[in-house]
Protein backbone atom coordinates (compact mmCIF):
# COMPACT_ATOMS: atom_id res chain seq x y z
CA UNK A 1 0.00 0.00 0.00
CA UNK A 2 1.56 3.36 -0.98
CA UNK A 3 1.87 6.03 1.56
CA UNK A 4 0.24 9.32 0.92
CA UNK A 5 2.87 12.01 0.68
CA UNK A 6 2.55 14.53 3.50
CA UNK A 7 0.99 17.77 2.43
CA UNK A 8 4.01 19.79 3.39
CA UNK A 9 6.13 17.87 0.88
CA UNK A 10 3.91 18.71 -2.01
CA UNK A 11 4.91 21.28 -4.58
CA UNK A 12 3.09 24.56 -5.02
CA UNK A 13 1.37 23.23 -8.13
CA UNK A 14 0.15 20.16 -6.25
CA UNK A 15 -1.13 22.31 -3.42
CA UNK A 16 -2.93 24.57 -5.89
CA UNK A 17 -4.59 21.56 -7.53
CA UNK A 18 -5.68 20.17 -4.20
CA UNK A 19 -6.94 23.53 -3.00
CA UNK A 20 -8.81 24.00 -6.26
CA UNK A 21 -10.77 20.87 -5.41
CA UNK A 22 -11.68 22.24 -2.02
CA UNK A 23 -8.80 21.00 0.13
CA UNK A 24 -8.65 23.77 2.72
CA UNK A 25 -5.59 22.30 4.38
CA UNK A 26 -3.72 22.54 1.11
CA UNK A 27 -4.87 26.13 0.66
CA UNK A 28 -3.75 27.02 4.18
CA UNK A 29 -0.35 25.50 3.66
CA UNK A 30 0.11 27.29 0.34
CA UNK A 31 -0.73 30.64 1.89
CA UNK A 32 1.57 29.93 4.81
CA UNK A 33 4.44 29.26 2.43
CA UNK A 34 4.01 32.55 0.57
CA UNK A 35 2.80 34.72 3.43
CA UNK A 36 6.14 36.44 4.17
CA UNK A 37 6.69 37.35 0.52
CA UNK A 38 3.14 38.73 0.26
CA UNK A 39 3.59 40.68 3.48
CA UNK A 40 6.90 42.28 2.51
CA UNK A 41 5.61 43.33 -0.91
CA UNK A 42 2.55 44.85 0.72
CA UNK A 43 4.67 46.58 3.36
CA UNK A 44 6.92 48.23 0.81
CA UNK A 45 4.17 49.09 -1.66
CA UNK A 46 1.91 50.72 0.90
CA UNK A 47 2.49 53.91 2.85
CA UNK A 48 1.88 52.53 6.32
CA UNK A 49 1.87 49.26 8.26
CA UNK A 50 -1.89 49.52 8.65
CA UNK A 51 -2.46 49.85 4.93
CA UNK A 52 0.03 47.06 4.37
CA UNK A 53 -1.95 44.74 6.64
CA UNK A 54 -5.10 45.49 4.65
CA UNK A 55 -3.29 44.90 1.38
CA UNK A 56 -1.88 41.62 2.68
CA UNK A 57 -5.35 40.40 3.65
CA UNK A 58 -6.78 41.38 0.26
CA UNK A 59 -3.93 39.65 -1.51
CA UNK A 60 -4.45 36.46 0.50
CA UNK A 61 -8.16 36.49 -0.26
CA UNK A 62 -7.51 37.07 -3.95
CA UNK A 63 -5.07 34.16 -4.05
CA UNK A 64 -7.55 31.90 -2.27
CA UNK A 65 -10.36 32.83 -4.61
CA UNK A 66 -8.21 32.34 -7.67
CA UNK A 67 -6.88 28.91 -6.80
CA UNK A 68 -9.66 27.02 -8.54
CA UNK A 69 -9.18 28.97 -11.75
CA UNK A 70 -5.38 28.89 -11.81
CA UNK A 71 -4.47 27.49 -15.21
CA UNK A 72 -0.79 26.76 -14.62
CA UNK A 73 0.43 28.87 -17.50
CA UNK A 74 2.83 30.61 -15.14
CA UNK A 75 4.64 29.48 -12.07
CA UNK A 76 2.57 29.60 -8.91
CA UNK A 77 4.97 32.09 -7.32
CA UNK A 78 4.77 34.38 -10.34
CA UNK A 79 0.98 34.27 -10.18
CA UNK A 80 0.97 34.99 -6.43
CA UNK A 81 3.32 37.94 -6.91
CA UNK A 82 1.04 39.31 -9.60
CA UNK A 83 -2.05 38.92 -7.44
CA UNK A 84 -0.27 40.63 -4.55
CA UNK A 85 0.90 43.57 -6.64
CA UNK A 86 -2.62 44.03 -8.02
CA UNK A 87 -4.10 43.90 -4.51
CA UNK A 88 -1.64 46.55 -3.38
CA UNK A 89 -2.45 48.76 -6.36
CA UNK A 90 -6.16 48.45 -5.52
CA UNK A 91 -5.49 49.40 -1.91
CA UNK A 92 -3.37 52.34 -3.02
CA UNK A 93 -6.24 53.59 -5.13
CA UNK A 94 -8.58 53.29 -2.17
CA UNK A 95 -6.20 54.97 0.24
CA UNK A 96 -5.58 57.80 -2.23
CA UNK A 97 -9.14 58.88 -1.50
CA UNK A 98 -8.37 59.10 2.19
CA UNK A 99 -6.43 62.02 3.70
CA UNK A 100 -2.82 61.09 4.35
CA UNK A 101 -0.61 62.54 7.08
CA UNK A 102 2.20 64.73 5.80
CA UNK A 103 4.58 64.12 8.66
CA UNK A 104 6.33 60.74 8.30
CA UNK A 105 6.39 60.49 12.08
CA UNK A 106 2.58 60.70 12.07
CA UNK A 107 2.54 58.00 9.45
CA UNK A 108 4.64 55.71 11.58
CA UNK A 109 2.54 56.37 14.66
CA UNK A 110 -0.65 55.41 12.83
CA UNK A 111 0.09 51.75 13.05
CA UNK A 112 3.72 51.06 13.46
CA UNK A 113 5.08 48.59 15.88
CA UNK A 114 8.62 49.91 15.86
CA UNK A 115 10.97 49.31 18.68
CA UNK A 116 11.10 52.58 20.57
CA UNK A 117 14.46 52.03 22.18
CA UNK A 118 16.73 53.09 19.30
CA UNK A 119 15.90 56.49 17.89
CA UNK A 120 18.25 55.92 14.95
CA UNK A 121 16.43 52.78 13.81
CA UNK A 122 13.06 54.45 14.02
CA UNK A 123 14.17 57.45 12.02
CA UNK A 124 15.78 55.27 9.32
CA UNK A 125 12.62 53.26 9.01
CA UNK A 126 10.59 56.41 8.86
CA UNK A 127 12.87 57.73 6.17
CA UNK A 128 12.63 54.58 4.10
CA UNK A 129 8.85 54.41 4.52
CA UNK A 130 8.40 58.01 3.57
CA UNK A 131 10.80 57.93 0.66
CA UNK A 132 9.22 54.81 -0.79
CA UNK A 133 5.76 56.25 -0.48
CA UNK A 134 6.90 59.21 -2.56
CA UNK A 135 8.29 57.16 -5.42
CA UNK A 136 5.92 56.79 -8.35
CA UNK A 137 3.97 53.59 -7.95
CA UNK A 138 5.09 51.92 -11.17
CA UNK A 139 8.78 52.51 -10.29
CA UNK A 140 8.20 51.54 -6.69
CA UNK A 141 6.67 48.22 -7.78
CA UNK A 142 9.68 47.38 -9.92
CA UNK A 143 12.13 48.27 -7.13
CA UNK A 144 10.20 46.18 -4.62
CA UNK A 145 10.14 43.12 -6.86
CA UNK A 146 13.82 43.49 -7.75
CA UNK A 147 15.52 44.75 -4.61
CA UNK A 148 13.17 43.48 -1.93
CA UNK A 149 12.05 40.17 -3.45
CA UNK A 150 15.23 39.49 -5.44
CA UNK A 151 13.38 38.49 -8.60
CA UNK A 152 15.08 38.52 -11.98
CA UNK A 153 14.03 40.74 -14.83
CA UNK A 154 12.19 38.03 -16.75
CA UNK A 155 10.09 37.11 -13.78
CA UNK A 156 9.31 40.76 -13.04
CA UNK A 157 8.32 41.24 -16.68
CA UNK A 158 5.97 38.24 -16.42
CA UNK A 159 4.46 39.51 -13.18
CA UNK A 160 3.89 43.03 -14.44
CA UNK A 161 3.14 41.93 -18.00
CA UNK A 162 5.57 44.46 -19.44
CA UNK A 163 8.63 44.10 -21.69
CA UNK A 164 12.04 43.40 -20.17
CA UNK A 165 13.38 46.77 -21.26
CA UNK A 166 10.58 48.52 -19.45
CA UNK A 167 11.41 46.53 -16.33
CA UNK A 168 15.02 47.76 -16.39
CA UNK A 169 13.92 51.31 -17.04
CA UNK A 170 11.46 51.34 -14.16
CA UNK A 171 13.97 49.79 -11.77
CA UNK A 172 16.53 52.39 -12.73
CA UNK A 173 14.21 55.32 -12.33
CA UNK A 174 12.78 53.93 -9.10
CA UNK A 175 16.21 53.55 -7.54
CA UNK A 176 17.18 57.05 -8.63
CA UNK A 177 14.03 58.52 -7.15
CA UNK A 178 14.49 56.62 -3.92
CA UNK A 179 18.07 57.83 -3.56
CA UNK A 180 17.06 61.39 -4.31
CA UNK A 181 14.31 61.34 -1.74
CA UNK A 182 16.47 59.73 0.89
CA UNK A 183 19.19 62.23 0.16
CA UNK A 184 16.74 65.11 0.57
CA UNK A 185 15.84 63.80 3.98
CA UNK A 186 19.40 63.98 5.33
CA UNK A 187 19.45 66.03 8.46
CA UNK A 188 15.75 65.50 9.03
CA UNK A 189 14.81 62.97 11.66
CA UNK A 190 18.41 61.96 12.23
CA UNK A 191 18.80 59.72 9.19
CA UNK A 192 22.10 57.92 9.45
CA UNK A 193 24.11 55.88 7.05
CA UNK A 194 22.16 56.84 3.94
CA UNK A 195 24.20 58.13 1.08
CA UNK A 196 22.76 60.28 -1.74
Amino acid sequence: MSRRRPLRWKTDSELVSAAGEGDREAATLLLERHYDRIAVISRRMMASPTDAEDATQQALIAVSRGLRGFDGRSAVSTWIHRVTVNACLDELRKSARRPLPVDPVDQAERGASFEPDHAGVISDRDAIDHAMSQVAVEFRTAVVLRDVCGLDYDEIAAILDIPGGTVRSRISRGRRELRDRLGNQQGVGGVQGLEP
Binding site: R24, A39, R44, E53, L60, I61, V63, M132, G165, S172
Partner: protein, 234 residues
Protein backbone atom coordinates in the same frame (compact mmCIF):
# COMPACT_ATOMS: atom_id res chain seq x y z
CA UNK B 1 16.36 51.99 -24.10
CA UNK B 2 19.81 52.21 -22.51
CA UNK B 3 21.72 48.96 -22.05
CA UNK B 4 23.86 50.27 -19.25
CA UNK B 5 23.06 48.56 -16.01
CA UNK B 6 21.12 50.63 -13.60
CA UNK B 7 23.12 51.48 -10.47
CA UNK B 8 22.34 49.19 -7.62
CA UNK B 9 20.99 50.54 -4.45
CA UNK B 10 23.35 50.78 -1.56
CA UNK B 11 23.45 47.67 0.52
CA UNK B 12 22.22 49.65 3.49
CA UNK B 13 19.19 50.86 1.61
CA UNK B 14 18.42 47.37 0.39
CA UNK B 15 18.79 46.06 3.91
CA UNK B 16 16.39 48.69 5.17
CA UNK B 17 13.92 47.91 2.41
CA UNK B 18 13.93 44.26 3.41
CA UNK B 19 13.76 44.99 7.09
CA UNK B 20 10.07 44.83 7.86
CA UNK B 21 8.48 43.87 11.10
CA UNK B 22 7.37 40.29 11.29
CA UNK B 23 3.62 39.96 11.41
CA UNK B 24 2.41 38.72 14.80
CA UNK B 25 1.45 35.05 14.68
CA UNK B 26 -2.14 35.73 15.71
CA UNK B 27 -2.59 38.24 12.89
CA UNK B 28 -0.98 35.90 10.40
CA UNK B 29 -3.20 32.99 11.40
CA UNK B 30 -6.34 35.12 11.30
CA UNK B 31 -5.53 36.51 7.88
CA UNK B 32 -4.86 33.10 6.39
CA UNK B 33 -7.99 31.62 7.93
CA UNK B 34 -10.05 34.49 6.56
CA UNK B 35 -8.59 33.98 3.12
CA UNK B 36 -9.21 30.22 3.14
CA UNK B 37 -12.87 30.86 3.89
CA UNK B 38 -13.03 32.47 0.45
CA UNK B 39 -11.77 29.33 -1.20
CA UNK B 40 -14.03 28.57 -4.15
CA UNK B 41 -15.02 24.93 -4.29
CA UNK B 42 -15.94 23.11 -7.46
CA UNK B 43 -19.68 22.64 -7.46
CA UNK B 44 -21.07 19.15 -8.00
CA UNK B 45 -23.63 20.68 -10.32
CA UNK B 46 -22.36 20.92 -13.87
CA UNK B 47 -21.78 24.50 -14.90
CA UNK B 48 -24.21 24.19 -17.79
CA UNK B 49 -26.99 23.16 -15.44
CA UNK B 50 -26.10 26.00 -13.10
CA UNK B 51 -26.25 28.49 -15.96
CA UNK B 52 -29.64 27.18 -16.99
CA UNK B 53 -30.84 27.48 -13.44
CA UNK B 54 -29.66 31.08 -13.23
CA UNK B 55 -31.33 31.91 -16.54
CA UNK B 56 -34.59 30.32 -15.43
CA UNK B 57 -34.50 32.27 -12.17
CA UNK B 58 -33.95 35.53 -14.00
CA UNK B 59 -36.83 34.79 -16.36
CA UNK B 60 -39.14 34.03 -13.45
CA UNK B 61 -38.23 37.23 -11.68
CA UNK B 62 -38.62 39.36 -14.79
CA UNK B 63 -41.90 37.67 -15.62
CA UNK B 64 -43.19 38.27 -12.14
CA UNK B 65 -42.30 41.93 -12.35
CA UNK B 66 -44.07 42.25 -15.70
CA UNK B 67 -47.20 40.56 -14.34
CA UNK B 68 -47.25 42.82 -11.29
CA UNK B 69 -46.79 45.90 -13.43
CA UNK B 70 -49.55 44.82 -15.79
CA UNK B 71 -51.95 44.10 -12.94
CA UNK B 72 -51.15 47.42 -11.38
CA UNK B 73 -51.81 49.21 -14.68
CA UNK B 74 -55.10 47.41 -15.10
CA UNK B 75 -56.22 48.38 -11.64
CA UNK B 76 -55.35 51.96 -12.33
CA UNK B 77 -57.19 52.01 -15.66
CA UNK B 78 -59.91 54.26 -14.44
CA UNK B 79 -61.54 51.96 -11.95
CA UNK B 80 -63.43 49.81 -14.40
CA UNK B 81 -66.48 48.17 -13.07
CA UNK B 82 -67.45 44.67 -13.81
CA UNK B 83 -71.17 44.46 -13.57
CA UNK B 84 -73.71 41.87 -14.36
CA UNK B 85 -75.68 42.63 -17.43
CA UNK B 86 -79.29 41.91 -17.46
CA UNK B 87 -80.05 38.81 -19.39
CA UNK B 88 -83.00 40.17 -21.18
CA UNK B 89 -82.92 43.84 -20.40
CA UNK B 90 -86.50 43.74 -19.20
CA UNK B 91 -87.32 45.19 -15.90
CA UNK B 92 -89.77 47.22 -14.08
CA UNK B 93 -89.63 50.84 -13.77
CA UNK B 94 -91.15 53.70 -15.45
CA UNK B 95 -90.45 54.02 -19.07
CA UNK B 96 -88.46 57.03 -19.97
CA UNK B 97 -87.61 58.59 -23.23
CA UNK B 98 -84.05 59.48 -23.89
CA UNK B 99 -83.26 62.15 -26.38
CA UNK B 100 -80.33 61.99 -28.73
CA UNK B 101 -78.76 65.01 -27.13
CA UNK B 102 -78.55 63.07 -23.91
CA UNK B 103 -81.36 64.76 -22.16
CA UNK B 104 -84.02 62.64 -20.81
CA UNK B 105 -87.47 63.07 -19.59
CA UNK B 106 -89.56 60.84 -17.50
CA UNK B 107 -92.91 59.46 -18.41
CA UNK B 108 -95.97 60.63 -16.74
CA UNK B 109 -96.07 59.68 -13.13
CA UNK B 110 -92.37 59.69 -12.72
CA UNK B 111 -90.29 62.33 -11.20
CA UNK B 112 -88.81 64.52 -13.79
CA UNK B 113 -85.12 64.76 -13.90
CA UNK B 114 -82.43 65.77 -16.24
CA UNK B 115 -78.87 64.73 -16.48
CA UNK B 116 -75.71 66.08 -17.96
CA UNK B 117 -73.47 63.62 -19.61
CA UNK B 118 -70.27 64.56 -17.94
CA UNK B 119 -67.67 62.74 -16.02
CA UNK B 120 -66.88 65.85 -14.07
CA UNK B 121 -70.38 66.47 -12.83
CA UNK B 122 -70.40 67.11 -9.13
CA UNK B 123 -73.47 69.23 -8.95
CA UNK B 124 -76.33 68.49 -6.76
CA UNK B 125 -78.83 68.72 -9.58
CA UNK B 126 -80.28 65.78 -11.24
CA UNK B 127 -78.76 64.96 -14.57
CA UNK B 128 -80.15 63.55 -17.74
CA UNK B 129 -79.14 60.02 -18.55
CA UNK B 130 -77.45 59.50 -21.85
CA UNK B 131 -79.34 57.90 -24.70
CA UNK B 132 -79.63 54.33 -23.63
CA UNK B 133 -79.39 51.97 -26.50
CA UNK B 134 -79.40 54.90 -28.88
CA UNK B 135 -75.92 54.00 -30.04
CA UNK B 136 -74.45 57.25 -28.89
CA UNK B 137 -70.68 57.53 -28.92
CA UNK B 138 -69.05 55.01 -26.62
CA UNK B 139 -67.42 57.72 -24.58
CA UNK B 140 -70.68 59.50 -24.03
CA UNK B 141 -72.61 56.37 -23.45
CA UNK B 142 -70.21 55.15 -20.88
CA UNK B 143 -70.26 58.36 -18.91
CA UNK B 144 -71.92 58.04 -15.64
CA UNK B 145 -74.71 60.42 -14.83
CA UNK B 146 -74.43 62.24 -11.60
CA UNK B 147 -77.53 62.16 -9.51
CA UNK B 148 -76.25 64.26 -6.67
CA UNK B 149 -74.61 64.12 -3.32
CA UNK B 150 -76.18 62.40 -0.37
CA UNK B 151 -75.58 62.06 3.30
CA UNK B 152 -74.84 58.37 3.21
CA UNK B 153 -74.82 55.35 1.00
CA UNK B 154 -78.35 54.36 1.78
CA UNK B 155 -79.72 57.77 0.90
CA UNK B 156 -77.79 57.74 -2.36
CA UNK B 157 -78.98 54.27 -3.19
CA UNK B 158 -82.57 55.06 -2.51
CA UNK B 159 -82.37 58.23 -4.52
CA UNK B 160 -80.95 56.36 -7.46
CA UNK B 161 -83.50 53.59 -7.24
CA UNK B 162 -86.39 55.94 -6.67
CA UNK B 163 -85.36 58.43 -9.28
CA UNK B 164 -85.05 55.83 -11.94
CA UNK B 165 -87.33 53.19 -10.63
CA UNK B 166 -84.47 50.79 -10.97
CA UNK B 167 -84.38 47.50 -9.31
CA UNK B 168 -82.00 47.27 -6.50
CA UNK B 169 -80.01 44.16 -6.98
CA UNK B 170 -77.50 44.64 -4.25
CA UNK B 171 -78.64 46.69 -1.29
CA UNK B 172 -75.40 46.43 0.59
CA UNK B 173 -72.10 47.96 -0.19
CA UNK B 174 -70.43 46.10 -2.97
CA UNK B 175 -67.37 45.77 -5.00
CA UNK B 176 -66.77 43.92 -8.19
CA UNK B 177 -66.73 40.58 -6.51
CA UNK B 178 -70.30 40.96 -5.19
CA UNK B 179 -71.93 42.04 -8.43
CA UNK B 180 -74.53 39.81 -10.03
CA UNK B 181 -72.71 37.46 -12.27
CA UNK B 182 -74.92 37.48 -15.34
CA UNK B 183 -72.24 38.22 -17.82
CA UNK B 184 -69.51 40.68 -17.20
CA UNK B 185 -69.68 44.24 -18.33
CA UNK B 186 -66.93 46.75 -17.91
CA UNK B 187 -68.06 50.35 -17.52
CA UNK B 188 -65.36 52.75 -16.50
CA UNK B 189 -66.17 55.19 -13.76
CA UNK B 190 -65.22 58.82 -14.11
CA UNK B 191 -61.60 59.38 -13.22
CA UNK B 192 -62.40 61.49 -10.20
CA UNK B 193 -64.48 58.76 -8.66
CA UNK B 194 -63.27 56.38 -6.03
CA UNK B 195 -64.14 52.74 -5.67
CA UNK B 196 -67.87 52.01 -5.82
CA UNK B 197 -69.63 51.59 -2.52
CA UNK B 198 -72.70 50.03 -4.06
CA UNK B 199 -74.18 49.40 -7.42
CA UNK B 200 -77.29 47.96 -8.87
CA UNK B 201 -78.84 47.23 -12.19
CA UNK B 202 -82.17 48.08 -13.67
CA UNK B 203 -83.83 49.48 -16.71
CA UNK B 204 -84.92 52.83 -17.88
CA UNK B 205 -87.37 52.75 -20.71
CA UNK B 206 -86.58 49.09 -21.18
CA UNK B 207 -82.90 49.75 -21.55
CA UNK B 208 -80.60 48.26 -18.96
CA UNK B 209 -78.70 50.58 -16.69
CA UNK B 210 -76.19 50.13 -14.02
CA UNK B 211 -75.70 52.58 -11.30
CA UNK B 212 -73.09 53.11 -8.68
CA UNK B 213 -72.83 54.88 -5.41
CA UNK B 214 -69.39 56.19 -4.73
CA UNK B 215 -67.65 58.08 -1.98
CA UNK B 216 -66.86 61.68 -2.52
CA UNK B 217 -63.30 62.73 -2.04
CA UNK B 218 -64.46 65.02 0.71
CA UNK B 219 -67.51 63.66 2.42
CA UNK B 220 -70.85 62.30 1.51
CA UNK B 221 -71.65 60.00 -1.34
CA UNK B 222 -72.50 60.35 -4.99
CA UNK B 223 -74.87 58.33 -7.06
CA UNK B 224 -74.09 57.66 -10.69
CA UNK B 225 -75.81 55.74 -13.45
CA UNK B 226 -74.78 54.56 -16.86
CA UNK B 227 -76.50 52.55 -19.52
CA UNK B 228 -75.37 48.98 -19.61
CA UNK B 229 -76.19 48.70 -23.25
CA UNK B 230 -73.44 51.07 -24.13
CA UNK B 231 -70.88 49.11 -22.24
CA UNK B 232 -68.84 46.27 -23.61
CA UNK B 233 -70.28 42.84 -23.16
CA UNK B 234 -68.22 39.81 -22.72
Amino acid sequence: MSDSPEPDLDDFIVAMLRDVDETPAAVRTRQIATAVRHLRVESSTPSRVRRLGVAATILLVVGGIVVLATNSAERRSDETISVAGLADGAGSGDAAEVRDDGSKTRDEGSDAFSADVSTEATTSTLATAPAAGAQSSPEQAMNFVELGEFADIEAARHAAVDAHSLESSKPEAADRSTLPSVGVVACPLPPDVGSPLWWGTGTIGGHPYVMAVVRNSGSGTRALVTPIGACAWS
